[in-house]
């Protein structure tokens, strides 16, 4: 389980470092997919494929668009989507903070920069 949380945290860190880059946004959605997959398996919370599909389509639209105004509009939709999923990802990290067994070396990774996760990391120490 630790490795999954590690992946989710680092995806968030990437997003947090460059929240406006498409690659970082993709990382955020990958964290979201991991959370959905985990919750679906462990807690039997079903996810909707249409939701993931919609996210992929929006990202694709952004990539395909050359018009700057259009790009800004699509980015605003993407940002709203990120905001709405952010809570789910952070709730996951808080729920599983009890079994985060960080060793000292983990702090080399500067994960404490992840906004909103600082508390989770500190609690687990």
């Amino acid at each position: 389980m630790f490795i999954i949380k590690d992946m989710v945290l680092k995806c968030l860190q990437v997003y947090n470092d460059k929240p406006d880059s498409l690659g970082s946004i993709q990382k955020f959605f990958k964290a979201y997919s991991l959370v959905l997959g985990y919750e679906s398996l462990i807690n039997n919370k079903p996810y909707r494929v249409s939701e993931i599909s919609m996210i992929n389509k929006i990202l694709q639209m952004y990539r395909a668009t050359v018009n700057d105004d259009m790009k800004i509009q699509i980015m605003s939709i993407i940002k709203k989507t990120v905001d709405s999923k952010n809570k789910v990802v952070h709730t996951f990290l808080e729920d599983y903070s009890d079994d985060m067994s960080f060793d000292d070396d983990m702090f080399d990774l500067d994960m404490v920069y992840v906004e909103g996760c600082v508390g989770v990391v500190k609690e687990s120490v």
């Binding site: 389980m1 630790f2 490795i3 999954i4 590690d6 992946m7 680092k10 995806c11 990437v14 460059k18 880059s21 690659g23 970082s24 993709q26 990382k27 990958k30 997919s33 991991l34 959905l36 997959g37 985990y38 679906s40 398996l41 462990i42 807690n43 039997n44 996810y47 494929v49 249409s50 993931i52 599909s53 992929n56 389509k57 990202l59 694709q60 639209m61 990539r63 395909a64 050359v66 729920d95 599983y96 079994d99 067994s101 960080f102 060793d103 070396d105 983990m106 080399d108 990774l109």
Partner: protein, 170 residues
């Protein structure tokens, strides 16, 4: 919460070299910011899926969860050809200057998205289930482990002591 205990007898001890390979792919997952992350999860799960003991335990677990293992693995195995098509289209679209043709490619890609999204979640679910059944689940990913894209494979046995247990992984 229904968690799998790390001391559970269902946890398979992975050979160090396999662990290294999986960790390398996951480190790549962490380091690169592109659209290929799902392919990396697929590659990592392939390495675990190839391990019979892990695969069997995972399948038993998924069956107990009421999930259709055949359906899940069928989707999982259909990933590669579909992903290649999508990747091809993505490449063609990036190189295309004509907006009309670009839009045609984009529409074609859209057709794949629902199918691929469903497969994507199957890969994520299978990847997590596989990870939960081996001792790699409690290992942190060291993103500094791979140096660059030309040197991103696991160290070969002659380059390090692979018999030294987990410490030798890093």
């Amino acid at each position: 919460m229904n968690k799998i205990n790390k001391n559970d007898e269902n946890i398979v001890q992975l050979p160090t070299v396999v662990k290294q390979m999986v960790l390398n792919v996951l480190a790549e997952f962490m380091q690169k910011n592109d659209a290929d992350d799902i392919e990396r999860l697929y590659r990592a799960s392939q390495m675990l899926y190839a391990h019979k003991e892990i695969r069997d335990k995972t399948n038993t677990y998924l069956e107990k969860k009421g999930l259709n293992v055949d359906d899940l693995t069928k989707k999982y195995l259909s990933f590669s050809p579909l992903y290649l098509k999508l990747k091809n289209l993505r490449q063609l679209m990036a190189e295309e200057k004509d907006e009309k043709i670009k839009s045609r490619y984009s529409n074609e890609m859209n057709k794949y998205f629902i199918k691929l999204s469903s497969i994507e979640m199957s890969i994520v679910e299978l990847f997590i289930s596989l990870v939960l059944h081996c001792d790699i689940q409690n290992t942190p990913i060291r993103s500094a482990y791979i140096k660059d894209s030309r040197d991103n494979r696991f160290p070969f046995p002659h380059q390090q002591n692979i018999g030294g247990g987990d410490e030798s992984v890093f």
